[in-house]
């Protein structure tokens, strides 16, 4: 098999008020089922090495994690190369119970927006309250990014990880670049102590 190629070949841009880069490939598995069922929680936790997160959250450790997608859906993250076998492991752990695991690693693109003004870049494109008092690291939100569906996860105080469909990767990268263009700092969110930003 060839080397996997992400939608934009890991392109990046750091000319604006926040750095934008395509990361990945990331192993991603859609896991649907009863999120309260212990067989499912155990299987997911064992494979990802973290607990199933509360609604609207994401737990992670190193390059593995679990994001809460909907009341009956999780996104299990793992190294790309392990996605296939991870699906098999999940299926085995689930056994005859009613749950579905599917590899979606190649169907998505993953971006990172980072810097003290990352919140502002995201707030230009998504109708979500990103005030630091409201939206905190560890939170995961599915929403609209300009004109396409997307999800974002705050990995730390100044970093968002964004998930979108692979076919719109170029659009998402371009629109993030426009939102992060230099001279476009809004100054809306208070910076954390010690933070300073290019505007």
């Amino acid at each position: 098999m060839s080397e996997p190629v992400t939608a934009l070949n890991n392109t990046s841009d750091a000319t604006g008020i926040a750095a934008v880069s395509e990361i990945g490939p990331v192993g991603m598995i859609t896991l649907r089922g009863d999120l309260n069922a212990s067989y499912l929680r155990k299987a997911a936790a064992q494979i990802a090495g973290v607990d199933v997160p509360a609604p609207l959250g994401c737990n992670s450790s190193d390059n593995r994690g679990i994001a809460w997608m909907s009341p009956d859906e999780l996104l299990v993250m793992c190294p790309y190369a392990e996605a296939g076998e991870t699906v098999e492991k999940l299926e085995k752990a689930i056994g005859s119970n009613f749950a579905t695991a599917a590899n979606v690693s190649d169907g998505r693109a993953v971006f990172r927006v980072s810097g003290p003004l990352a919140r502002e870049v995201m707030a230009k494109l998504s109708p979500v309250d990103l005030d630091p008092a409201i939206f905190k690291p560890g939170m995961f939100r599915r929403t609209r990014l300009a004109q396409v569906p997307a999800a974002f996860w705050m990995t730390d105080d100044e970093t968002f990880q964004i998930f979108c469909f692979r076919s719109v990767a170029q659009y998402v990268f371009d629109v993030l670049k426009v939102a992060a263009q230099s001279g476009s700092a809004v100054g809306h969110f208070p910076l954390a102590e010690g933070q300073s930003a290019n505007t």
Binding site: M1, F98, A102, V175, G183
Partner: protein, 1005 residues
């Protein structure tokens, strides 16, 4: 003349002189000037021509309410028409040009309209251009189009960028005057998240101009202190140059921030549209002074008294050397006093009122030696391009001139109207305030939010409070009440600042000056400056039966210009009420609609321009297609190769080549856009039997079946091949446009109807690149790459299998949409391009060529396969298309089954699918109708069919088509006639829709 004063100009930075040009003439101004103040400082009183009569016009106001001062601004990629001089901040190198005149501002041919104004009254256009009917299109409209419109349309592409910003807050305060500032301070101290926005570039509003003392300090010092206090609050965000443009449902507010209009070379976006969700909105939007209606009130040099005062105090500009003040209230006396303090002459104050005793301000004016004429009015203003004097009369009379006073400016004040626009946008009601003759917010009837409670509170002048002390107390109380209702607590003992009160005598409503003015004077008294509507026009409308204010507005165009009647509304209403002999509140107001002041279309569009105007979906092989001659066609948001055009080829040539090559050798199609949905669970088979017209539960693992999907209406909505993966798992292919729609369709039924069924769906459309390897050499090509057994024995027609080809992990479906030997191969998208490359290398000596969607269409049409969107249009049922074989007779139910039993659906006269061949071998026109005998009840020719797909088939070397024809399948061989927009009707024979390989041998080898 108008000029710059030696003193004054609190907003100017005289250390920063700027140069700019107006109509090519170089002028000087200062940082802090508006274009209006700078023009006046350069004695450029004449700024434009009016819309209808081309009257000479200058500014009448100093802010956003200005109706006259519109100019073309900038050039090329930064050209903008209709920029308001009063809201345009001066910057170095600014270029402005006046508009709406020809050949020049000074000499305008269009001004002839003014001479003809007697013949151009309200409704003139409606009456004049009705007859003869044919004249509209050929005579009237071209002439009107030539002369209509304000400003020029930009010709170059806008070079700037724009953006949106989504903000959330507890309390949004619109307006940065003393009311807004006091409200922000109070709300800020409660701990609420507060955003305060002000449309101009400075805080404080009118208070520093109008003076007064607050808490022992002058108003401007008070403002400075307040701004400093608020700026230190981390929970309050202050934004200048940001206008509250509109208030909408559920606390949605649009803010319009102008970032670089005053510094065009700065980096970053030009405008930012704030999309704010506020729990509560406080409108501290102030009030606007009203003009007075007297003859000649539009002559350059006649201005609102407050504007004359603003220009003197804020910008150090005198509008004239000798200014006559005309008023019906005390407030305008401030202008007279300010002018005198600036060393200018005020020959007289004409006060329409007759008062028993002098107020404080009157006494002050008199003490300065200003002549005050009570009960007097302006009979008419003298001058044309500039005021030269006023004729004075008594307000009570009909205009007999008592005296003429030489002057070069007139400052008028008809009282003040609260800016209630934002209060009203989302349904806030108004009440008539008799004492101030204005509409103000009825706080008992606010606009209501999601919780059913009011979410807008007016504060200060915007709520009808005009004295400084009242304004501050009202704003404080408003913020206190709002913060408390949201659960925030104010510090104990927090009180409103106290301002010294000034005793004022009441204003007296004056709607026409003089009261008994006859037609001659009324025809020269302007209500709406920008749209050229006069007192006489509104009276005419009333006379002609336009008793509703909304009708009168549209008939006269009063308030319909870009200023939306900020100055003219109340005067217009009062005039209408007078003509109808009604009370003003009984006439009511017209509707206040957002935006408050024009905002740029580009700001509304935000980031969506250029390459991110809309999302374009690309497959993993998109780049390869681009570099290999693909011409793309949009399919939803996807871009799919239409054909790969080689040099020297036309697009048509390329398509023909691709068809022939695929039939003879080997074709490669990027089919990645097809929808792929996993349907899994114990009830998946039962569920798919409901989704599809045919039986899917009986499909064996390892097998594929073509399926049809209908809506509950019975109409065909999608088709595709379904593969059964294992006992509980199916993979459903959809059309390119159907992937998201069908996934949602499935989820809707699972979530809202059969929620107890155990079924999961997962949309894996983009997980896979899918490549169709098509043609007689398809197997050879795959075998060359090596790997899994793809022989007819191992992988028969309509089978699928997982395996490896050329070292790639793939899933291979033996399905064919072309009638040829065909493998559709799914591979993880991240390897799609590599696998495509491997195929092109392996197929190199097998005649491999990529083909596009047009070739795909011809291949399928030659085989008589239907295409969703060609043969279907949302009104077609499978039975129309001869697809009865794909409709299960055994199933009790499927979506659409009941609907297909309706009489109209079962009607034997529904048009049915057939093949069509023009008798001369030509290609039938797409969408052409088959003409029948006679005409219908509307006298139109009867039809009996239409073409749904039509192509030139290179395989058969003739035109082939599919169509729906009345009793078609029973009329094989019959020749019918199709209309043709480009010439004589075309004769075509009804034939079997399968044109090529009727037995299906080629795909099954």
């Amino acid at each position: 003349m108008s000029t710059r004063l030696a003193t004054g100009g609190r907003l100017l930075n005289k250390a920063k002189p700027l140069s700019f040009s107006f109509n090519g003439k170089q002028m000087r101004g200062y940082q802090g000037d508006t274009l209006a103040s700078a023009l006046l400082a350069n004695d450029q009183m004449l700024m434009g021509r009016s819309f209808k009569y081309h009257r000479p016009r200058s500014v009448v106001a100093s802010g956003a309410e200005e109706p006259n001062g519109l100019v073309n601004l900038g050039r090329e990629g930064r050209f903008e028409p209709n920029a308001r001089v009063t809201t345009t901040e001066l910057f170095d190198g600014l270029e402005a040009a006046s508009q709406n005149h020809w050949p020049s501002l000074e000499f305008d041919v269009g001004a002839i309209n003014a001479r003809l104004s007697r013949f151009l009254p309200a409704g003139f256009y409606y009456k004049m251009f009705m007859y003869p009917r044919s004249f509209w299109k050929h005579v009237y409209e071209p002439i009107i189009r030539h002369s209509a419109g304000l400003g020029k349309a930009p010709k170059s592409r806008d070079v700037d960028t724009y953006e949106h910003f989504h903000a959330f807050c507890d309390i949004l305060i619109v307006g940065g005057g003393v009311a807004g500032l006091e409200a922000a301070r109070t709300a800020g101290l409660s701990g609420a998240r507060v955003v305060l926005m002000e449309q101009t570039d400075h805080w404080g509003g009118r208070a520093p101009v109008d003076g007064g003392t607050v808490e022992g300090v002058a108003a401007d010092q008070f403002v400075e202190n307040l701004v400093e206090e608020i700026a230190a609050m981390p929970n309050v965000q202050m934004r200048l140059r940001c206008m509250g443009a509109g208030v909408y449902d559920h606390g949605y507010v649009l803010g319009y921030e102008r970032l670089t209009d005053h510094q065009p070379d700065a980096a970053g976006p030009r405008h930012r549209l704030w999309r704010i969700r506020a729990s509560h909105v406080i409108t501290a939007t102030g009030a606007i002074e009203r003009p007075l209606s007297f003859a000649g009130n539009d002559i350059p040099g006649v201005m609102l008294a407050s504007a004359v005062r603003d220009y003197a105090v804020n910008f150090g500009v005198s509008v004239g050397d000798r200014t006559v003040v005309v008023t019906n209230n005390d407030n305008a006396y401030l202008t007279a006093i300010a002018l005198r303090h600036a060393g200018l002459d005020v020959p007289a104050i004409l006060d329409a009122r007759v008062l028993p005793q002098d107020s404080e301000l009157m006494a002050q004016a008199k003490a300065l030696g200003i002549r005050v004429l009570m009960g007097h009015a302006v009979a008419s203003v003298q001058g044309s391009k500039r005021v030269t004097g006023v004729a004075v009369c008594s307000q009570a009379g009909e205009g007999a001139v008592l005296e003429e006073i030489t002057c070069d400016a007139v400052a008028m004040s008809g009282g003040w109207s609260p800016v209630v626009h934002l209060w009203s946008h989302c349904g806030g009601k108004l009440r008539w305030d008799t004492a101030h003759a204005c509409f103000s917010p009825d706080v008992d009837q606010p606009p209501k939010g999601a919780d059913g409670l009011g979410f807008v509170t007016p504060a200060g002048a915007a709520s009808g409070m005009f004295a400084l002390d009242d304004v501050l107390h009202d704003a404080h109380a408003a913020a206190d009440g709002v913060a408390t209702s949201l659960g925030f607590k104010l510090p104990k003992d927090l009180t409103a600042p106290h301002a010294e009160r000034r005793e004022e005598t009441p204003m007296a409503p004056v709607w026409m000056m003089p009261q008994g003015a006859g037609t001659k004077l009324r025809e020269k008294a302007w209500l709406d400056y920008q749209n050229d509507v006069k007192v006489s026009d509104v009276r005419l409308a009333a006379q002609e039966g336009f008793v509703s204010v909304e009708h009168a507005k549209r008939y006269t165009t009063l308030g319909m210009a870009t200023d939306q009647g900020k100055l003219s509304n109340i005067n217009g209403l009062a005039t209408l009420a007078g003509a109808l002999d009604m009370e003003i509140p009984a006439v009511g107001t017209t509707t206040f609609r957002p935006p408050y002041h024009p905002i740029s279309m580009a700001a509304i569009g935000g980031e969506a321009r250029g390459n991110v105007f809309q999302p374009i979906r690309r497959t993993p092989m998109h780049h390869w297609h681009e570099t290999n001659g693909a011409e793309f066609e949009p399919v939803g948001h996807w871009r799919r190769p239409y054909a790969y055009v080689r040099s020297g080829e036309s697009t048509h040539d390329a398509v023909m080549r691709e068809v022939t090559n695929t039939r003879k050798n080997l074709g490669l199609l990027d089919a990645s856009t097809l929808g792929k949905i996993i349907v899994r669970g114990p009830d998946a088979g039962r569920f798919l039997d409901m989704m599809y017209t045919n039986m899917m539960s009986t499909l064996k693992p390892g097998k594929c079946r073509y399926g049809l999907m209908c809506s509950e209406n019975g109409f065909l909505i999608d088709d595709g091949v379904v593969a059964r993966i294992d006992d509980q798992t199916w993979l459903c292919h959809t059309t390119t446009g159907g992937a998201d729609r069908i996934h949602q369709h499935m989820e809707e039924w699972l979530q809202t109807e059969w929620w107890d069924w155990q079924v999961h769906t997962v949309n894996v459309t983009e997980q896979y690149a899918q490549i169709a390897v098509v043609g007689p050499n398809a197997r050879k090509c795959l075998e060359k790459l090596g790997g899994m057994d793809v022989s007819a024995e191992a992988l028969g027609f309509m089978d699928w299998a997982d395996g490896e080809i050329g070292g790639f992990k793939v899933r291979v479906y033996r399905i064919s949409f072309s009638g040829e030997l065909s493998y559709e191969i799914a591979i993880d998208a991240s390897h799609g391009q590599a696998f495509w490359d491997a195929l092109t290398v392996a197929g190199n000596d097998l005649g491999i060529m990529p083909y596009g969607t047009e070739c795909l269409h011809i291949l399928r049409a030659e085989k008589g396969f239907i295409m969703i969107g060609d043969e279907t249009d949302g009104t077609i049922i499978p039975q129309d298309l001869g697809l009865n074989w794909a409709i299960s007779k055994k199933k009790e139910d499927y979506l659409g089954k009941r609907a297909q039993e309706r009489s109209h659906m079962a009607d034997p006269t529904r048009w049915k699918l057939v093949g069509l061949e023009a008798t001369d071998g030509s290609t039938l026109p797409d969408g052409a109708y088959a003409v029948g005998e006679g005409t219908n009840e509307n006298g139109q020719r009867n039809t009996m069919g239409r073409v749904t797909s039509t192509y030139h088939s290179p395989t058969l070397d003739k035109g082939i088509a599919m169509g729906l024809v009345l009793n078609g399948p029973d009329r094989m061989g019959e020749v019918i006639s199709f209309s043709n927009l480009e010439g004589a009707p075309v004769e075509a024979r009804i034939v079997d829709p399968v044109f090529y390989d009727k037995e299906g041998k080629k795909q099954n080898v």
